[in-house]
Symmetry: C2
Subunit: 340 residues, 2 copies
């Protein structure tokens, strides 16, 4: 009897939450999933492939200028982005859109703001070759990789069966494998989803409830709270031109379908408090303002200041544990010939 009584009391002794809060957890579990410690893609790759990808990620020699690495715009010290409204590309010209974070990018169903890359590998290859990103060419990238003994060894280890392993496509695959390891598990929200309801305070739980009640979660669901679907920026109300520059018609450029005009990928919200400024235009610096804009343009709702604060507090709980990355030693040029 005594032990049964204690068993029944256990939830209370452990700091149980009221039934309403339990309902909130149940609803949240229907809408969202925690970030796994390591993504499926990363588990399927060899360590040599990930190590190669990390080295490539930090190597500025892959760019046209030889001075811009992936890490320049997707800075792993800055939550995988660069805090700029739009980035500076390899010719130091502003890119048209805000750099999305690479953190948890392997958990997105869509890559780029317009979904023009099918997966992380296609995204990496596109970024290397785009004149408005790293400005490389297939020939130059491959010549660079093959000129460096260190890379020849690393590509051989990562692609042991290939006749010529040091190719742009294999570089992209390695970059994808590395990026797939860049997950940020154990956010307070994820601890909440796993049953530690005290991981969110009351204000944050209010924000979570609003996030579902107002309709945010209808698009921003799943593991990444977004990142896999497309919607018009302006479902209900067209945003100001500063936020939605008329010349950038979004997904229409990918599908050539005018009904896709101004469709963009639903932004994934993991670590969103760390990756200002916001939207594809990077035009909004404050997360609170971004929340208000979304409510107005996507949901036709005007939020109170209190609601915005609660929602922003909830979004702050989506910041997870940053991956630990050491600065890789990049392959040195071959010992120069003693040609004096």
């Amino acid at each position: 009897m005594r032990s049964a009584f204690l068993f029944a009391m256990a939830p209370l002794l452990m700091g149980a939450v009221p039934a309403a809060a339990d309902d909130l957890l149940a609803r949240a579990r229907d809408a969202f999933q925690p970030v796994p410690a390591q993504t499926q893609a990363a588990q399927g790759h060899e360590a040599a492939l990930v190590r190669l990808g990390k080295t490539l990620f930090f190597d500025p020699r892959l760019s046209g200028s030889g001075a811009l690495s992936c890490n320049a715009c997707h800075n792993l010290g800055l939550a995988g982005s660069d805090l700029h409204p739009t980035s500076l590309d390899d010719t130091w010209t502003s890119t048209p859109r805000n750099a999305p974070t690479v953190l948890n990018a392997g958990l997105n169903g869509a890559l780029y703001w317009d979904g023009r890359a099918a997966d992380l590998t296609a995204q990496a290859a596109a970024a290397l070759l785009s004149p408005g990103e790293m400005n490389g060419t297939r020939e130059r990238v491959e010549a660079t990789l093959r000129s460096l003994l260190g890379y020849r060894v690393m590509f051989r280890q990562a692609f042991p069966a290939a006749a010529e392993p040091a190719t742009l496509d294999n570089a992209a695959a390695a970059l994808a494998a590395f990026q797939a390891t860049l997950t940020t598990p154990d956010s307070r929200f994820d601890r909440y989803l796993r049953g530690d309801t005290a991981a969110l305070d009351g204000r944050e739980r209010d924000g979570l409830a609003l996030f579902m009640d107002k309709g945010c979660a209808g698009c921003h669901g799943g593991v990444n709270l977004g990142g896999s679907t497309y919607y018009p920026f302006g479902v209900v109300e067209k945003p100001a031109p500063a936020l939605l520059p008329p010349a950038d018609r979004g997904r229409e450029a990918v599908t050539a379908d005018p009904t896709d005009a101004y469709f963009f990928r639903t932004a994934p919200l993991r670590n969103v408090a760390l990756t200002a400024p916001y939207f594809h235009s990077g035009a909004v610096a404050s997360l609170g303002e971004a929340v208000s804009v979304m409510a107005a343009t996507q949901l036709g709702t005007t939020l109170s200041a209190d609601e915005v604060q609660a929602l922003t507090a909830f979004l702050g709980t989506l910041s997870g544990t940053m991956p630990a990355v050491d600065v890789p030693r990049l392959p040195a040029p071959a010992a120069p010939p003693a040609d004096g």
Copy 2:
């Protein structure tokens, strides 16, 4: 008797080297010293100061563009340099001179190619503020640092007695403290200097002997094999204009003394095999060619191909153990106000 005999034989039993090689070691010990595991400057600083300096070193927000960190030109994955003849500055314009490595920079007596900074701290401050380097202003750098809660905490920890710790000068001091930790001990040459004569093979020992016999060590001596003295580029024979651009008159610009025209700092040679291209102009890609040029211009000597190869082999033994550095998490912008 027996033990005395064994004692006398011990050097032979342990693989002793001929007397000539012992002479070589003795001469080398007169001319050079090994890199200490940690420099004196680093020992004198608190861990908080070094940690702050590392964070600042990787933070692009210190630059005018907000996109260029110290690590861009002094890439710790590329032996502390960038492999470019000259670097791209904060406005993506070529700098006039080759970026010297930060590795072992705390062991140099002179900073910059013309010695215009008295020490690492002065160098860091100058690089932050120079329009042709990071292009910052004191006001903007300090405003940036003070706007970030993470930096306010880190500066307070590093400078507990300061009324306002987040200053440009303190940032420079922290950068200097971090850079002073970036030593590369335990090169094969240092193991040789410590008595492990087998750490260099015969070819490399030949190169070492030539390095002293030909006169290279007269300027390239000490711990860093250079880095502390000034000589004209062209003591004996003027280099070609491509190597010595006439408009860059070197140390004369610092001292305003015409007799310093075309004087430059003796390049420190630690890790020189990893930091091509060479000279202040970065105009020579091959270490062998750089050796030949030095012999001709500084010593009036024409080296044989065999001598160049031996010298280059010796220089390859100056590559030490790279410091292990993890990518620091840079302070996030303050949580934006919920101002919706």
